[in-house]
């Protein structure tokens, strides 16, 4: 079988600056601009790439998938399913028979005062900068989250010579692995449980110190408990969210699974989604904190998806597929999730209580938590009302759960250049809370292509057909229906 493996790493520095696809917080070294160096490092960081290449897999690094197109009831113009791909210079389309989406997870964004400053980042961004690129430019870090995600981030940072000042959690005790905790303590890392961040402060848009505050059982800050910690980096490591945007574009059924990080694809026990040609593997299929220390689960899911895809194309027969699958059974395919969303909600509550609601829920568009909840028009409109009872979320929620797309278009929260990556979950949680709805009942904020910000000149179709070029319609014309 002809197999192509596409991975967007190494990503361009221009993307990293937009906090795409992870929250890098501008703390990357200049080396990120050197593409060939980054390719070298990304390869070195992942031996399986060379292994795959040796087996004849066409490995395309530095290539992102920004779109996934497929015919449906309401669009029939394509001559088969296809992906939109791009590197830093150009874009192209690629057809496939089977697709395995192993797009991982992205950083959960949670707002605190100062999280729009340089130096606020998150675990996956930090991991990428440390492991893949060796380009993390942080001196002293405070890590938020004491689950395995936070603990591993702290340990990795220590290993790379970053001074880790503190690991902070709103929970009463440390959430993650005791052995890592012991190592961290030995290295002098302070662990603050029942604490949250009040703000990150500094000059010139930088972070120079972090103010922590103790919280009580109701997530309320304890007066007089503020502690100022010098640090140039605050790393959010509270959670990761499955990267389901391509699956959403493909029309795969998604279900809200709070323990697995939100919306995850429905799948059978062969990792096949509701769309026959699409399989999933790894964090994209659902992520929880236990998986940080157990990379075997994701790997096995990948093996299984590969076996299933091969079987579905007739490359191996049913008996062989079943035999190969039973080899995997010894290792876990599913591991036991934790209280993912409940933990996030507690964090959000504590941050709001400590930092107030004038914090940007959506840093790209500068929409505060209060703007969102009050459905305020964008601030740049300078709109004032004398109304005593302006429109409210509760009124919107009267007939049915608030639709985040509707609120997005009214307030602009989630409409910025990071494409809602940083604020989606938080916006949904805030809306759910303010409208007294269960977040599980709210429709998902839509995903649209390109799922990476792509310059016009990159999106430019060098393969544009004469027909599309010449038969273009400015608006309606009867002859110009279906092209392509």
């Amino acid at each position: 079988m002809q197999v192509t493996l596409i991975d967007e790493n190494p990503i361009a520095a221009s993307m990293a600056r937009l906090n795409v696809p992870q929250f890098f917080g501008q703390r990357f070294a200049g080396g990120l601009h050197d593409k060939s160096l980054m390719v070298e490092r990304a390869r070195a960081a992942n031996e399986a790439l060379a292994e795959a290449e040796a087996m004849g897999v066409d490995v395309q690094l530095g290539t992102c998938v920004w779109g996934a197109f497929r015919n449906s009831e309401s669009s029939r113009v394509l001559d088969g399913p296809q992906l939109g791909l791009a590197d830093n210079e150009r874009s192209w389309l690629m057809k496939y028979d089977r697709l395995i989406v192993a797009a991982g997870a992205r950083d959960l964004g949670l707002a605190f005062a100062g999280w729009d400053r340089r130096g606020a980042m998150a675990a996956n961004g930090a991991y990428s900068l440390m492991r893949r690129y060796q380009a993390l430019a942080s001196q002293r870090m405070v890590v938020l989250g004491s689950g395995n995600l936070g603990l591993s981030t702290a340990r990795m940072a220590l290993d790379r010579g970053v001074d880790v000042a503190a690991v902070v959690d709103v929970s009463r005790s440390v959430r993650g692995d005791e052995a890592i905790v012991a190592t961290l303590r030995e290295s002098g890392v302070k662990l603050f449980t029942s604490h949250t961040v009040r703000e990150a402060v500094g000059g010139n848009g930088e972070i120079e110190s972090v103010v922590l505050v103790e919280i009580d059982d109701n997530c309320q800050p304890v007066a007089g408990s503020d502690k100022v910690i010098a640090a140039d980096t605050v790393c959010l490591a509270v959670g990761l969210v499955p990267n389901v945007e391509l699956l959403s574009l493909l029309g795969c059924d998604l279900s809200f699974e709070p323990e697995l990080g939100g919306y995850v694809p429905d799948r059978d026990d062969w990792m096949r989604t509701s769309v026959e040609s699409v399989f999933v593997a790894g964090d994209v299929a659902g992520f929880h904190d236990g998986m940080v220390l157990d990379t075997e689960t994701a790997r096995n899911q990948g093996r299984l998806a590969g076996i299933a895809a091969a079987k579905s194309l007739g490359a191996i027969d049913e008996a062989e597929a079943i035999a190969r699958r039973s080899d995997l059974q010894a290792a876990a395919i599913d591991s036991k999730p934790t209280d993912t969303y409940a933990n996030w909600i507690r964090w959000l509550q504590a941050l709001l209580n400590a930092g107030g609601s004038e914090v940007f829920a959506c840093p790209c568009e500068e929409v505060t938590c209060a703007d969102l909840i009050d459905l305020r028009p964008p601030r740049f409109l300078d709109w004032e009302t004398e109304r005593t009872s302006p429109p409210s979320l509760k009124a919107l929620a009267k007939d049915a759960p608030v639709n985040p797309d509707q609120v997005k278009r009214l307030t602009r929260a989630g409409m910025g250049h990071c494409q809602g990556r940083l604020c989606r979950e938080q916006v949904a949680l805030l809306l759910a809370e303010a409208s007294e709805t269960d977040v599980a009942d709210m429709p998902v904020m839509s995903y649209r292509p390109p799922v990476r910000p792509l310059p016009l000149r990159v999106m430019w179709p060098h393969d544009e057909s004469e027909q599309v070029r010449n038969e273009w319609a400015k608006w309606f014309s009867p002859t110009q229906q279906v092209l392509g």
Binding site: R76, G251, D399, Q406, R409, R448
Partner: protein, 388 residues
Amino acid sequence: MPVNRADVVVIGAGVSGLSSAYFLARAGKDVVVVDKGIVGGEASGRNGGMVSERVDEPLLIPLAVEATELWTTLDEELGYPTEFTQEGRLQVAVTEAEMGDLLAERDVALRHGIDVEVVEPSAIRDMIPGITERTLGGLFFANGGHANTQLTVQAYAWALQDLGGRLYQNTTVTGLRVVDGRVASVETTAGDLAAEFVIGAAGPQTGLLADLAGVHVPVAPARVEILATAPVEPRFPIALVGNGLYGHQAVRGNLIFGGGAHEWTDVDLTTSPGKPNTPLIRNIARRLAELLPGAADVPVIRSWAGVVEQAPDYRPIIDILDCPSNYVVVTASAHGFGISPATGKVVSELVLHGESSIDIRGLGLDRFSGVGRGWRQERGWSPVPQRA
């Protein structure tokens, strides 16, 4: 649903339905609006936001000119911001043929007393920073403009509610009960509603809805695509048409441009049609980069699609019917956003007085009396068959 009676029931919370509802409520009517989805969830919240005098369609000029006037005070009228910006609309030509079309449009405009002016390429470059050197000239309409689609449609909705009008989102119309030549009640997923007048403003579902009352309203649904970039400097407030695209720069700074082929599609009465994008967005991106080379490095951050409604002659249908005699058809033929303030005004006048102060000759349903049920197939306006 707490009420089962109203003076007027409006079906569809898009710009056409909500503007109609607003003007009726302002005139003192007790109005209920129902929509199977959210306010502006379909074309009305997903369009290009362009407002123009429709010189391309002379029969529409009176309605469109009235709209451009109503727009100038719409924010104050409704009490909510729409981001309406009336700095004009510039159509540029990049080919000789297009230049010829522009000059012909100018002549129509002048004949109708519309404020229009031919502009030279050098002036165009001053008006739109970063525009291509390839323009041969342009036509500037002083009263054109653009607005924010969702803010606008929501502004109508909130203004309606402020006047005591009721709005039920996520409430689907499933039937129209006709008794003695009148729509006696509207059947919805939240119960029946009875009213003196019923307004069918269901966008691409307008035809299916009218079928329930035994009336044939020829409207073909089509899917169209559009994209938005990240905010970009410098700004231009003028609505821009050229190189096969139409669009504008939002107040926030994003370039919002659409164009290209549409795809005929089928919708059903009670569900929201799928609205996927296709690789066509790359072709739009190219045309935008050609039109505004200065913006070629700006990232596209999203695209979307919407389903529009199209009558056989590309013109709106606004009509109060003979039978059922209390049923009003309102559908815009894919240009409904810009004309929406005038649409609502006309509909309210039709309901209140049986006639409109605005010249809407040529927008009645009777012009399609000869159009049979098979018209879409005959015109080739049906979806292509599904491929394997």
